[in-house]
Symmetry: C2
Subunit: 158 residues, 2 copies
DNA sequence: TATTGTTATACTCTATAACTATA
DNA sequence: TATAGTTATAGAGTATAACAATA
């Protein structure tokens, strides 16, 4: 309550703004703070290296659809870790740009079947190399061993 | 990593969706894909454990402001890794909720000085423990050594 | 004038909730 | 009842432009 708060560093009597018992949460020690920043940096690198105006999620949808097509919208969402509402927005924008085609599933009228258009395939071909550069640029501050380690740790907490 | 072994010659008349030379980008091998998912999971845990309806960025702004107040809006943005437009939106919502006060800086009329309201301070006190739980829950799949390692690696790529 | 900070606008991503249609 | 998809809403993040105050 009053004194004896277990501050991280020394409990030296303060010349710093020390209010009673509240110095117990350091933003700079929370993993979420760095997850957000690492993601920010990755997105910035993506925007810089990818010539065409594609977002990370748009690229993920295109790349995954190439491997799965034909594929329902909901299924593509699951494979790219986007929920229904998100994948719908992403697909809508890609359809508007002429990179994805949609048609109803003849077997299940609820489903929307997606395929890449020719322009969609070409967009992937044109940008694949840059997309790989994004990953290596993001990991550039790390040694090869650290890169593998980071990938493993991230997958463990996903 | 498994090389180009399964690349089709391109002349295989397809009943499968086989296209020439394009199987060279695996979404599941890109660090950005896992950064996004790890962040997603962290945000979900935050929403689950924090009783009051606060977002991660709102909480970051509150927690940092507590340590820095009084503090200009731009400065708070830099300390929480948000750009001007982003921190403005976050602060606006916290002002609307009565958790932050604003006043013009008397020395520099360009600056907007922020302080926590009493309700803001109380909100931090009420939620600090839950916020710490969010971090440990996020890191739960990792051993203590792995947690430290992840924190270091994330900071290196920020 | 060049820089810093604020404000406003636009677009995208994310998630939730409510809803329709289908299985 | 459960599932697939749509729509609406809210918050966040980013980028850009316009503007005010300052150095």
């Amino acid at each position: 309550m009053n004194g004896a708060s277990t501050l991280n560093g020394g409990d030296t009597v303060a010349d710093a703004p020390v209010r009673s018992e509240e110095a117990q949460y350091a933003l700079g020690e929370q993993v979420g703070f760095y997850l957000r920043q690492a993601n920010q940096r990755h997105v910035a690198i993506f925007a810089e290296l990818m010539a065409e105006k594609l977002t990370t999620t748009q690229w993920a949808a295109l790349a995954k659809l190439r491997d799965m097509q034909p594929c329902s919208q909901g299924n593509l969402g699951r494979e790219t870790a986007m929920d229904m509402a998100t994948i719908k927005g992403v697909v809508d924008r890609l359809v508007k740009r002429g990179l994805i085609n949609t048609r109803p599933d003849t077997d299940d009228a609820r489903r929307l079947v997606l395929t890449l258009t020719k322009a969609g395939e070409e967009t992937i071909d044109r940008n694949r190399s840059a997309a790989l550069d994004v990953s290596s640029q993001t990991l550039k501050p790390l040694s090869p061993g650290e890169r593998m380690m980071l990938m493993e740790l991230l997958q463990k907490i996903c």
